[in-house]
Subunit: 324 residues, 4 copies
Amino acid sequence: MIRAVVRKGVGVYGHEFVGFCDGWRGPLEGETVPLDIQAVRGILPRGGTILGSSRTNPLKIEGGVEKIKGNLAEAGVDALIAIGGEDTLGVAKQLFDQGVKVVGVPKTIDNDLNATDYTFGFDTAVNIAVEAIDRLHTTAESHHRALICEVMGRHAGWIALHAGMAGGANVILIPEKPFDIDRVCAYVESRFQTRYAPIIVVAEGAHPIEGQMTLQAGELDAFGHVRLGGIGEMLAKEIEKRTGKEARTTVLGHIQRGGTPTAFDRVLATRFGLQAIDAVHDGEFGVMVALRGTDIVRAGLGEATKELKTVPVGRYEEAEVFFG
Amino acid sequence: MIRAVVRKGVGVYGHEFVGFCDGWRGPLEGETVPLDIQAVRGILPRGGTILGSSRTNPLKIEGGVEKIKGNLAEAGVDALIAIGGEDTLGVAKQLFDQGVKVVGVPKTIDNDLNATDYTFGFDTAVNIAVEAIDRLHTTAESHHRALICEVMGRHAGWIALHAGMAGGANVILIPEKPFDIDRVCAYVESRFQTRYAPIIVVAEGAHPIEGQMTLQAGELDAFGHVRLGGIGEMLAKEIEKRTGKEARTTVLGHIQRGGTPTAFDRVLATRFGLQAIDAVHDGEFGVMVALRGTDIVRAGLGEATKELKTVPVGRYEEAEVFFG
Amino acid sequence: MIRAVVRKGVGVYGHEFVGFCDGWRGPLEGETVPLDIQAVRGILPRGGTILGSSRTNPLKIEGGVEKIKGNLAEAGVDALIAIGGEDTLGVAKQLFDQGVKVVGVPKTIDNDLNATDYTFGFDTAVNIAVEAIDRLHTTAESHHRALICEVMGRHAGWIALHAGMAGGANVILIPEKPFDIDRVCAYVESRFQTRYAPIIVVAEGAHPIEGQMTLQAGELDAFGHVRLGGIGEMLAKEIEKRTGKEARTTVLGHIQRGGTPTAFDRVLATRFGLQAIDAVHDGEFGVMVALRGTDIVRAGLGEATKELKTVPVGRYEEAEVFFG
Amino acid sequence: MIRAVVRKGVGVYGHEFVGFCDGWRGPLEGETVPLDIQAVRGILPRGGTILGSSRTNPLKIEGGVEKIKGNLAEAGVDALIAIGGEDTLGVAKQLFDQGVKVVGVPKTIDNDLNATDYTFGFDTAVNIAVEAIDRLHTTAESHHRALICEVMGRHAGWIALHAGMAGGANVILIPEKPFDIDRVCAYVESRFQTRYAPIIVVAEGAHPIEGQMTLQAGELDAFGHVRLGGIGEMLAKEIEKRTGKEARTTVLGHIQRGGTPTAFDRVLATRFGLQAIDAVHDGEFGVMVALRGTDIVRAGLGEATKELKTVPVGRYEEAEVFFG
């Protein structure tokens, strides 16, 4: 993405670039790094971001927006390209409303942004999860254990849905639909009737119907997140207690964020970058670049961030055909 | 795909299935295999097809269509789901016009079918090619050779375009646009000015502007195909002759067709399968299931097959920003 | 392995084979499956075992050995090839001592068998773990969190040692050497001084110097195992408490057992299989096939199973050069 | 490797390092790059070499050795660590004989160096080839074509042998044993009797029994190499002519040299590096670090380079069990 912006911005439009480090911390503190053709060489096959990230939210800091405007002016920045998910682009929207020239780029493995078919990072995360599930199938064929794979997704079950469908999971549990532990155990027991063991894909934010599980959900940690290992581990214990079968959990955690991006994500990111710099060149701000079918278009930042894009009922029902 | 059709067809609609072997050879000769839930177990992570394929074209065989109609009736088949690319679905269209109840599913690594955003098999092929290009970069950093990667694509450059863009190729050559060998050599020589060697991605069907290359194109072989190794090998020799630099060619060939499908392709194939059996259930024939954005829809077989979907000029120009 | 035994046994020596299912449960209960050339077709790229596994230990079952001898005789079995780790081959040794013609094959991802350079399954498990660690590096470059990767190894730290060394971990913790949590936290804090976050690879059986950690170790579960997620999760909490930095854990669990085996493991397994059937043909029993350098040899089952092969001090010190 | 040398050399022994660029060209021309801890950060998961390579042979250049000695002295170099295959280490041996303090490290994908069980780079190359062969199996199951995979190995068939054995090839052809085209075609035809198509792995240096093939071998190119595509392509044409079946060739070429190294190669390279700097520290020169079983030892450069390590007859016969 950054590579495409810089390559076209420098090569075609003659722009200059600086990179702000660590998400909104960079613009807030005015910390920049040089971003020229040389700086973006070789980054295509690398995941993550060469600029770092943080959870800093300038809207929660007194005078945050003014500081950013000041730092942008001081660095001689005409326009800002903001790359990230709901939080990042929500801030971008606020900055635009207060006069900053912003173009947004949807990047999050959670795929939970509206106004775009996909965000980049999602396809890579799904493939990593599918690879893990494929490997669990080997064990499922020879060992007699329920295998649980906990994937990312606190509020939206996109990774679980796609990875579970692609991986041939016997059950998929997503945050959008509280699950019935009795039904999950029924699937587990019916699967054990065949010579294969069940594989359950669970989003970290999935949860049972209220009051149904006797074990307590992982409490929030000091950083406001459900502890990794929470629901997958809980589910394993609950299944063991109820069915008498062994259950084992794999927690993918941060490996879903990293590694070499897929071709889909690289093409998407590259085309997003080209469109973002075109938007800047055209002077069209307050927009997010977005995928619609095979086209890269521009959507309003407001439309993109007004609510989370969660898994629709129909898509989940589609997957349920394969449960059990 | 087949798994999804059978799982939903048997589990939800109560249908029964037989598989016809080896493309159109199966229906022509009435050769079937049983297709029940058991037969489709474990095929999700496998590429290719459990039913085999062939180049048999019933339209070129006297009485071919009648034979197929007879064999379908004899096997008690109410509706036919045809899976394949332009050739397969072209035949499906003809059969539909002659009264056979057909639903088509777009499967080809070439991605050259109209009416759908993507065909399945394409994403996997592109990822395999990108992986190869990534590996060439290692050599490009340490050896001083032009590296050529020949990918599939006789008439459409989709694989070359996506793989080249995702892989950071220095030049991409596609069948849709005859290339200028002088310009290719200029890119090669300018790239050698940096400490990296150039990587060229070339579709097997790419060709130079007429009369420009002194070496002859690979003649058609006994099966009517350009010999693998043709254009990549020719290009290597031409570049060596013109620039004095060593050039080496990798010919991916059939490895692009195989192996474990990507998550994207598996989800796409699964959803295509669900839509195909729904179309059958709805009694809607003469259609091809298709991807539009994130939706699976039905398109007319005629629309899908009337002409090849080639790479539009705009998409190629997008990629040219990164040439050199 | 099984494929090589059957291919050479049938093709060269004219033997016939049956497979006993689910580890020692099969011979105990006399449950067999046919094992001919057809049964072993296509299994090379698949991990796991086509015969299943279990934890059944015939030595702990009254009259277990006699039952096995009876079932072998009844099935017309002249010789038994036992495939597995310490437990399986320990039983094989006992059976041999009681007159059963046994040849052992060392298969365990833990690599903890004496008398062989490597067991098969180990190289694949290490590569899977390294792939995960590589992906964590992406996050470590952009997020500011300590990343913990828990790998298998209850008694021996081979996977952690090799994966940690190959993955460039900042600290590796193995069961053979109780760790000093103060030193671990010191590495974590010094690493945060650079722009990269620390990556810690921990074997599931690693543990702190006695009394040092305030959190309790995961209690044994109903099946006698430390709960997955135990030490990795504990370590994360302890690091957060002591350093004030966020820590995140990935628990690889059973994905290390599965998937497509590496070339090293496939060649090793194939050559083990050839040597095993040769030993049977030569009438040499009570041996385990073993790798020594590039040769496949035969070692006494007693030598192989008398004690666990753990990581020697020297190998761990080698790795410590890269800590911090 | 370089990382391990520098990390231990700087961190433990307090040495300083410079890197010579592009193989022997660097020492000859006195071109160096700085090599400190910072320079080797992040190179572990990358294949290839950060120092570049060339075919420059100082022994063929008048006064070459003297120039190197002069440049080493001028750069203040006390000892030289030479990394490479037969050519590189042959030069290292000559330099040592003429008084230069040299330690060699065996790095070549060809695995053709004596005195070490394996060279590093080999395991990665084999895995890449196996991945390709696995993918060809998909096509072999559904299409009716002979599939040929040409791998590296001009003088030694190690890659072909290991990749072919691990990939389940139906025939493996290596330079050490001229092949009988009639026998190859017999395997091809017998394989077509099953429902699978044959897969042939051929080393680029393999060749038929003299006079047997009617097509001419690829002539040497301007750089003294058999053209890539040579034997694989020839074989395809010959098989088509003799059997009437279609044959398709994949030429892996330089993709075998690159990409992320396997865990085996990374551990091996790291341990080679540690041993190399230890040898320097111990003042033991004229040696090559080497793998023997699980130990890293030192062998004489003379022993290592006196003749090529080719595939022994016994290893090839082992593989022949699986032919056909």
